[in-house]
């Protein structure tokens, strides 16, 4: 009856009521007739079809998170049988709501191998698969989880951010997330999830990798609910126990949010402005602050065996500058360990245990951290560039290969990943600094070299292809297991030529002169008539 009365208010409703009110009631009645069990059964059949096709490869046919691809991934795919979910709007230990599960299916889990399915599956398909996922655990039977009330964020103020930072330290968030938030706290190497697999403390300077979303509201929810199944606890007891107020917890969320830029736009060209003064002397030189960094995202090397699906380094901040004689490139990236580091030994062993894939055993001895920068050895003809993974025999690369131990850079010729021949040129110099979970490595090289066959010149005013490779030695990474970029380009700005300043002045003078001439002539003509 309610349905009918609601409809009567609308024009369509009035019409429908008059002509077919009875029929409408019958329809409404029959739509309610099927029992929930029957509807659920239909959902489950369709959900199972979607699941088996798209999800089982990672999450396993029985939902135990043990699909074929399991040992290539870190963190591993979710085991649905325990119904333990990270991203929820419910209290710790609670079940997620359908909306919580739907959100993860839609958006994926940033920073993991779980993609978002919003554009790949239809809405009913996603809804059905959520119903099916729930059927893997008895915990959902008869349960309707209730979301918590989170309230509203206070307005962001400078004092508020300072208070947020104070509470970040009071609550000892740094124990895992580190002093500067890069996931390099003293407990970080020991962290495991509920399945005893190694798990990384979130790098708070990379909000786009936050599993539960990057907004202040989402960060606050994670503080309230915790990320169940991970070491991240709920801080709701601290609020309820009046250790801090909800507003102060909001301040923590706001401060955490302030540690990360928005997801940076990726530009293909890294600009190296020409400096009037000296080029920066090292990574700590304040002159770098004036040069905006370019974000270069990296992905796991999954082309050549051994493939690596769980890279530690997800991107580099690249700055460059030159003075007409010398090029300086500063590359900074998050890495929680200065490898090798004894504190991370148990971590690498756990990683090796988790990623026991068919591509061969993961090393359990820590190598150095690595950063490789490559350029085409010979100027590319047209759009042809060397193979992005270190080059190829026909089109070799010119590389700078830096390692943390020994802290050294080698120059040489690359013909593929791991195929590198050092050459004894000493054109490139470097300086590396590590602190607060970040490497900052500056390379410096003269634009021209004595031996251009081994170390090509950097032309000014031309885009030179440039690509990157990074590895964390404490994470089982080496010369092949690591993170790679596609080809980018570096462009050394042309010095502003003098004619740029002279030409307008000349134009003005000439115009004025000509104008004057016309006026003078006209006056003469007027006088003579």
């Amino acid at each position: 009856m309610n349905r009918g009365s609601a409809l009567r208010g609308t024009r369509f409703g009035r019409l429908a009521w008059r002509r077919g009110g009875v029929m409408l009631l019958v329809l409404a009645g029959s739509a309610m007739l099927p029992t929930p069990e029957r509807l659920a059964a239909q959902d489950l059949t369709r959900g199972k079809a979607v699941y088996d096709r798209w999800c089982a490869g990672c999450h396993g046919e029985t939902g135990a998170g043990d699909g074929e691809a399991m040992t290539y991934m870190l963190p591993r795919p979710r085991d649905f049988t325990r119904a333990v979910y990270q991203v929820r709007t419910t209290a710790t230990g609670g079940l997620p709501t359908d909306a919580d599960l739907m959100r993860v299916v839609d958006e994926g889990m940033p920073g993991t191998t779980m993609p978002g399915w919003r554009t790949r599956l239809s809405e009913p398909e996603r809804r059905d698969v959520v119903a099916y996922i729930k059927s893997f655990s008895r915990f959902f039977e008869g349960e309707t989880p209730t979301p918590l009330e989170f309230g509203k964020a206070p307005r962001v103020t400078a004092e508020g951010l300072a208070e947020g930072e104070r509470w970040y330290r009071e609550l000892e968030c740094f124990k895992c997330h580190g002093d500067a938030g890069r996931g390099d706290g003293s407990s970080a190497p020991t962290l495991t999830d509920d399945w005893d697999q190694p798990i990384r403390a979130a790098d708070l300077t990379r909000a786009w990798n936050f599993n539960g979303g990057a907004s202040v509201e989402q960060v606050y929810r994670r503080l309230q609910t915790g990320l169940d199944g991970t070491p991240m606890p709920s801080f709701s007891d601290a609020v309820e126990g009046e250790i801090l107020t909800a507003e102060q917890l909001w301040r923590v969320a706001q401060w955490v949010h302030s540690l990360s830029p928005e997801r940076p736009a990726v530009r293909e060209v890294i600009r190296a402005p020409r400096l009037e003064g000296a080029i920066p002397a090292g990574p700590g030189d304040s002159a770098w602050a004036a040069i905006p960094p370019a974000w270069v995202p990296l992905v796991g090397q999954i082309v050549i065996k051994p493939r690596w699906f769980a890279p530690r380094v997800d991107g580099l901040w690249v700055r460059a500058a030159h003075d007409g004689q010398t090029l300086a490139v500063l590359i900074a990236w998050s890495d929680p360990s200065r490898s090798p580091d004894a504190a991370w030994q148990e971590w690498i062993e756990r990683v090796a245990g988790a990623l026991t894939d068919a591509d061969g055993p993961v090393p359990t001895t820590q190598g150095p951290d690595r950063l490789h920068v490559q350029f085409p050895l010979r100027p590319p003809e047209g759009l042809e560039r060397p193979y992005f993974l270190g080059g190829d025999p026909r089109r070799p690369t010119y590389q700078w290969q830096w390692t943390s131990v020994p802290d050294a850079v080698q120059e040489g010729r690359g013909t593929g990943l791991g195929a590198f021949t050092a050459v004894p040129t000493t054109a490139v110099r470097h300086a590396a600094e590590f602190g607060d979970g970040e490497w900052r490595v500056q390379f410096t090289r003269s634009l021209l070299t004595a031996d251009t066959a081994a170390a090509p010149a950097f032309p000014v005013g031309e885009a030179v292809p440039m690509a990157f490779y990074a590895a964390d030695g404490s994470d089982g990474e080496d010369e092949r297991r690591g993170a790679v970029s596609a080809w980018y380009a570096i462009y050394l700005d042309v010095p502003t030529p003098p004619r740029v300043y002279v030409a307008p002045v000349l134009a003005v003078l000439v115009t004025a002169g000509l104008g004057g001439l016309v006026v003078v002539r006209a006056q003469r003509r007027a006088r003579s008539t």
Binding site: T92, E141, T144, T146, S186, D228, M232, S236, G241
Partner: protein, 252 residues
């Protein structure tokens, strides 16, 4: 939430084999359970023995927590295996068979686990389903307490200050529910959740005692985090006494 408790409670009752509506109270306080008379006055007196050389306990690197490290004379170790004069402590023993039908009274002692010196005290303890377990922090630093059960629902809460407490109720019998702290990866405790009150943990002298039982023959199971489970049987005679012992060996 009340509906949720009822559902879990009902499942508990079924799991108990008709163990009684008391268990069905779930998280809610049950007056009847708290005031139930004991089933009997007999007591099982037990001893857990250990033969061979106990393995050395792992050293704990507490340098990051000077507050905790200062509580130990020398190098702190993780008390995985506590053996004294051939007796093994921290063995969880419970009755697994021979019990009369319930309902069962709730244990007199309120179970509590405290965090002191970056270790759990006690390391092994038991609670009855539906009974509140108190988790307290006596350290003036951050601990998180994560329960990682499989049959029950877990949780993960932070206690950044000394004096904080939390109560938690497990509704399903489960041997054992691990508690862990991720800030201090070495911290481990084990909670045995039993749907009756007939359980105990061996002391440093290896002794344990389970009271309130009528005469009869009972099956027992002992659990140790390192050496696993053992089963035993004991008969409480007309005098109300029964004795039992378990022996763990270094090689097992």
């Amino acid at each position: 939430m009340r509906a949720a408790w009822l559902v879990i409670g009902t499942m508990t009752a079924v799991g108990c084999g008709g163990g009684g509506e008391q268990a069905a109270s779930g998280g809610g306080e049950s007056a009847t359970q708290a005031t139930l008379a004991p089933l009997g006055t007999g007591t099982i007196s037990g001893m857990v023995m250990f033969t061979g050389t106990a393995p050395a306990n792992p050293a704990i690197d507490m340098r990051e927590e000077p507050h905790c490290a200062a509580m130990y004379g020398g190098q702190p170790t993780d008390p995985v295996v506590v053996v004294k004069d051939g007796h093994l402590a921290n063995v969880f023993v419970r009755v697994t068979g021979g019990l009369p039908a319930g309902p069962y009274p709730r244990p007199a002692a309120a179970p509590k686990v405290d965090q002191v010196g970056c270790l759990y005290h006690p390391r092994v303890l038991g609670v009855m389903t539906g009974q509140a377990l108190t988790i307290a922090n006596s350290d003036s630093l951050l601990h998180n307490i994560k329960a990682v059960p499989t049959t029950n629902r877990g949780f993960n809460v932070s206690q950044p200050r000394a004096g904080m407490t939390r109560e938690h109720v497990f509704n399903q019998a489960e041997i054992m529910v691990p508690l862990e702290c991720n800030v201090h990866g070495w911290m481990k405790a084990y909670v045995g959740v039993v749907d009756h009150p007939y359980f105990a943990v061996s002391s440093e002298s290896g002794t344990f005692s389970i009271g309130g039982l009528p005469p009869g023959t009972y099956q027992l199971e002992a659990w140790h985090e390192r050496f696993g489970t053992k089963t035993g049987e004991v008969t409480i005679g007309a005098d109300g006494k029964g004795t039992v012992s378990f022996t763990y060996a270094a090689t097992s």
